[in-house]
């Protein structure tokens, strides 16, 4: 069970890594804004799996905080991102 959970955590992290490469390369700022979302769901999954594997109960609180703050980061990105190269102000 422990090995399986560790393997699952590693797999999810690998998926996050591959996804990050694509997201950060994506043309346009909207693609890059997705990084916070990707890390939010992937990072939380990896944390929960790793925590269950090591028997560490407090990762649940870290995941809770991560969920809230990743959402906050996504919204901050959308609110303040410049939307095109030749536009220096919002809307």
């Amino acid at each position: 069970m422990t090995d399986f959970l560790f393997a699952a955590a590693g797999f999810v992290l690998a998926m996050v890594a591959v996804g990050l490469v694509r997201v950060l390369r994506g043309p346009g700022d909207a693609d890059r804004m997705m990084a916070a979302q990707l890390l939010g769901s992937g990072g939380i999954a990896a944390l929960l799996l790793g925590g269950a594997a090591t028997g560490n109960g407090s990762v649940v609180d870290v995941s809770l905080t991560l969920a809230l703050l990743a959402a906050f980061a996504s919204i901050a990105f959308v609110k303040f991102a410049p939307f095109s190269a030749d536009d220096s102000s919002e809307s």
Binding site: D3, F6, A7, A9, G10, L13, A14, V16, A17, L20, L24, D29, R32, M33, A35, A36, L39, G40, G43, A46, L47, G50, G51, N56, S58, V59, D61, V62, L64, T65, L66, L68, L69, A70, A71, F72, A73, I75, A76, F77, K79, F80, A81, P82, S88
Partner: protein, 314 residues
């Protein structure tokens, strides 16, 4: 074997993200890379068994620093073309490379020559925790053994806030920080700014409360509460208060003032500044935490809200 791979993966990811953030030319992309790096550091801290630090990293490094950097990159947008046009000459690049290499060598020597096993005060810290009544050794260190550092840190945050305020133009001194944000009140941003903050505030208070015996504490809790407040501000549902209001200033100072008062009381009753008399440790720690948490949340929120840009309503 699998365990090693799982432990190595975040380290490799963090390294790559660090390189990406440094190399990429666009400021916004660098900011996104840096925030991703911060969120991944949370995983790394958990792996290193620093759960309290992981909580702080998620809260500050992921959320608040993200907001700060993204806003800064938005302001820098008009100058970016100009900045990109300047390219340093070969000599400058060589010098920069040499200095970076030098720092790397010094750091490598320092890390590799660390004594093993590392000298530690952990046993002494653990043996006195019972008399304090707290179960979390981090809280014991922060609020009992090194309470002085925590007090100074709270005051430093206050000074940082005053520094942010000092950037205000004269005519709006005392006014409201930041621009007035507007969002469609029926729209999505307003929706999540109504639904998320109540949950977030409960989580923040919960993390503050369990800090006594489990990873957590007032700083992480205050950061979460501040982030939720900033969310409502970004959606236009709440506005930053004018900084000349008396309640703002009283609330900001209340936390550090209580801390200093406890310290002086300790000097009178226990023989040392911030000393705790026998049996009074737990109640005093609670008093400090309860006073400091709202002040911290307000301080962090106001620092993130920015410099005053609008005059206070008369």
């Amino acid at each position: 074997m699998i365990v090693d791979a799982v432990y190595a993966a975040p380290a490799l990811l963090i390294l790559s993200l660090g390189i990406y953030s440094t190399i990429v030319r666009d400021t916004f992309s660098a900011t996104v890379g840096f925030i991703a790096y911060g969120l991944l550091l949370t995983v790394a801290w958990v792996q290193l068994h620093g759960v309290d630090v992981a909580l702080t990293e998620a809260a500050i490094g992921g959320g608040l620093t993200g907001l700060l950097l993204v806003r800064a990159s938005a302001r820098l947008r008009p100058t970016e073309a100009l900045a990109r046009a300047e390219a340093p000459g070969g000599a400058m690049r060589l010098l920069a490379g040499l200095m970076a290499g030098g720092v790397f060598v010094v750091l490598a020597i320092a890390v590799l020559s660390l004594p093993d096993p590392a000298p530690t005060l952990a046993p002494q810290a653990a043996e006195h925790m019972a008399s304090l009544g707290v179960g979390n050794p981090i809280t014991a260190v922060l609020l009992a053994y090194r309470a002085m550092d925590t007090m100074l840190e709270a005051i430093v945050l206050l000074l940082a806030l005053i520094g942010v305020w000092s950037l205000a133009p004269d005519r709006v001194w005392g006014g409201r920080p930041g621009p007035r944000y507007n969002a469609d009140p029926e729209g999505i941003l307003a929706f999540i700014a109504r639904v998320l903050p109540p949950v977030g505030i409960i989580v923040g208070i919960y993390i503050f409360w369990i800090g006594a015996d489990h990873p957590g504490g007032k700083f992480q809790g205050a950061t979460i509460v501040a982030a939720m407040w900033l969310l409502t501000m970004m959606a236009g549902l709440a506005d930053a208060p004018p900084i000349n209001r008396r309640w703002v200033r009283i609330l900001l100072v209340a936390g550090p003032a209580v801390f200093v008062a406890v310290g002086v009381a300790g000097a009178l009753t226990a023989g040392a500044f911030l000393g705790y008399p026998e049996g009074w440790a737990k109640p005093l720690i609670l008093v400090i935490e309860f006073a400091l948490m709202p002040s911290l949340a307000l301080t962090l929120g106001l620092i993130m809200a920015g410099t005053p840009e609008r005059p206070a309503a008369p």
